[in-house]
């Protein structure tokens, strides 16, 4: 199962290396969002520092939608998904492979976003381990649910408009937890950021398990 999943992951990453959609188109969009938030909230760095953790995760969610749509497009643009289903690779392996591929791309985007935010908003980090742990778990929640909802929206034939409506509410609890954890890591809120990691862990694990169990059935119906 994991050999096949890794095969799918490698293929998705190779396609990204060839097409450079994420690096050349989605990454600049990410950075633009952050800059526009800066303009919208005025150049008051104190306000930007307070809202920075929330802005980071909202920006990440917006670009995740694009990355998810791209991940689905790879399989549907020339009906490669039919060939995948006929190949003998199990739906669970396809799901895991595509989730890992999306995860790696989102982590790269988040690192870029993080660096720009710290520099642009003049923020200082108090706990890197908390930043890294919450990013790892939240990104898993985003990529696991995104892979699932991407194929659901694709099957309904209105992917571009429906995906955000389905996807964003599901991620709301994860974004609340991630924002609190980041706020603590940046020293901007008094809450215990590590306590929020428990919630993030549960969300990430549940979303991944639900995806693994249901992806095949959803793929059959699309």
């Amino acid at each position: 199962m994991f050999r096949d999943a890794w095969l799918v992951t490698k293929k998705d990453l190779l396609i990204e290396i060839r097409s450079r959609i994420v690096i050349n188109q989605i990454a600049p969009y990410t950075l633009l969002i952050l800059v526009l938030f800066g303009f919208a909230l005025d150049a008051d760095t104190e306000t930007l520092r307070d809202t920075g953790p929330g802005l980071f995760w909202v920006s990440t969610l917006l670009v995740a939608i694009l990355a998810i749509q791209r991940s689905v497009d790879i399989e549907t643009s020339d009906s490669a998904i039919d060939r995948l289903m006929l190949s003998g690779i199990s739906p669970t392996s396809i799901y895991i492979g595509k989730t890992i591929g999306l995860y790696i791309q989102l982590i790269i985007l988040e690192v870029m976003l993080f660096i720009v935010m710290v520099v642009l908003f003049d923020m200082s980090v108090e706990s890197y381990p908390l930043i890294i742990a919450s990013a790892i778990l939240t990104t898993l929640a985003i990529s696991s649910s995104g892979t699932l909802y991407g194929v659901i929206a694709s099957g309904l034939g209105v992917r571009e408009t429906l995906l955000p409506v389905l996807f964003l509410p599901v991620l709301a609890p994860a974004i609340i937890g991630a924002t609190r954890a980041f706020g603590d890591a940046f020293g901007r809120v008094s809450s215990d950021g590590w306590a929020w990691l428990g919630l993030l862990s549960v969300i990430a694990i549940v979303y991944t398990l639900v995806g693994m169990l249901t992806y095949g059935n959803i793929l059959e119906d699309t």
């Binding site: 020339d78 190949s87 003998g88």
Partner: protein, 225 residues
């Protein structure tokens, strides 16, 4: 010869639309069967049903002894389907597409090289992204993928679309070699009446069901080459 496809009153819906309204047919191993019919008759749906990609609403059916109601997942690895679209990744080169699918099918580099050479994809075309190929070249690549998968049944939907005369000859030759080796081939096409094998059958699909199943082979019909 053993029966590899057996459908009895098979009904398939696409959404709310009954695309197949009670298909009954039986196909033996090693047969070439041409499926003809007007646009929207249900030819592609019939091929997708036989591939295990569409569920049956009612009726019974087996393909390679796999029950189409309960064992579609198990059936799929044994099927080669070439649809209207080629199923290639546009951003990958011909060789990268071949290598990915070969890994998925468990085929080796030697099989890749042989299939690519057979369809004239070796050399310069290897490193061309599939999005930059012509329609005919994409078709050839899709056929090369069929070869490396080695399926027991080939389901070909308009396989000659976009191919030049040389491409059609290659495809015909490839199909005949596969049939010699015991592969069963179903071809849905407007463009051919005869593939060059005397004991082929022709099925007529209309309104989602088989309307004619000629007893006599279609000798003397147009032969695409």
């Amino acid at each position: 010869m053993s029966t590899v496809i057996n459908l009895d009153q098979s009904i398939v819906f696409l959404g709310q639309f009954p695309a197949l309204t009670g298909v009954t047919m039986s196909i033996d191993q090693g047969e070439i069967v041409l499926i003809k019919g007007p646009n929207g008759a249900g030819k592609s749906t019939l091929l997708h049903l036989c591939a295990g990609l569409l569920p049956m609403r009612s009726g019974t059916g087996t393909v390679l002894n796999f029950d189409l109601q309960r064992q579609r997942m198990e059936l799929r690895p044994h099927i080669g389907l070439l649809g209207h679209r080629t199923g290639l990744y546009p951003d990958l080169t011909v060789k990268e597409n071949m290598k990915f699918w070969a890994s998925a099918y468990g085929s080796n580099d030697n099989e890749i090289d042989k299939a690519m050479a057979f369809f004239g994809l070796s050399g310069r075309l290897e490193s061309v992204r599939s999005q930059n190929l012509s329609e005919g070249q994409r078709r050839r690549t899709a056929f090369a993928l069929l070869l490396i998968k080695r399926p027991s049944i080939w389901l070909l939907d308009e396989p000659y679309a976009g191919l030049d005369d040389n491409g059609r000859e290659l495809v015909n030759s490839c199909i005949l070699q596969a049939v010699e080796a015991g592969t069963t081939v179903l071809i849905a096409s407007h463009q051919i009446n005869n593939i060059g094998k005397s004991d082929q059958r022709t099925l007529q699909v209309k309104g989602g069901r088989i309307t004619i199943e000629p007893e006599e082979p279609s000798k003397g019909d147009d032969h695409v080459s």
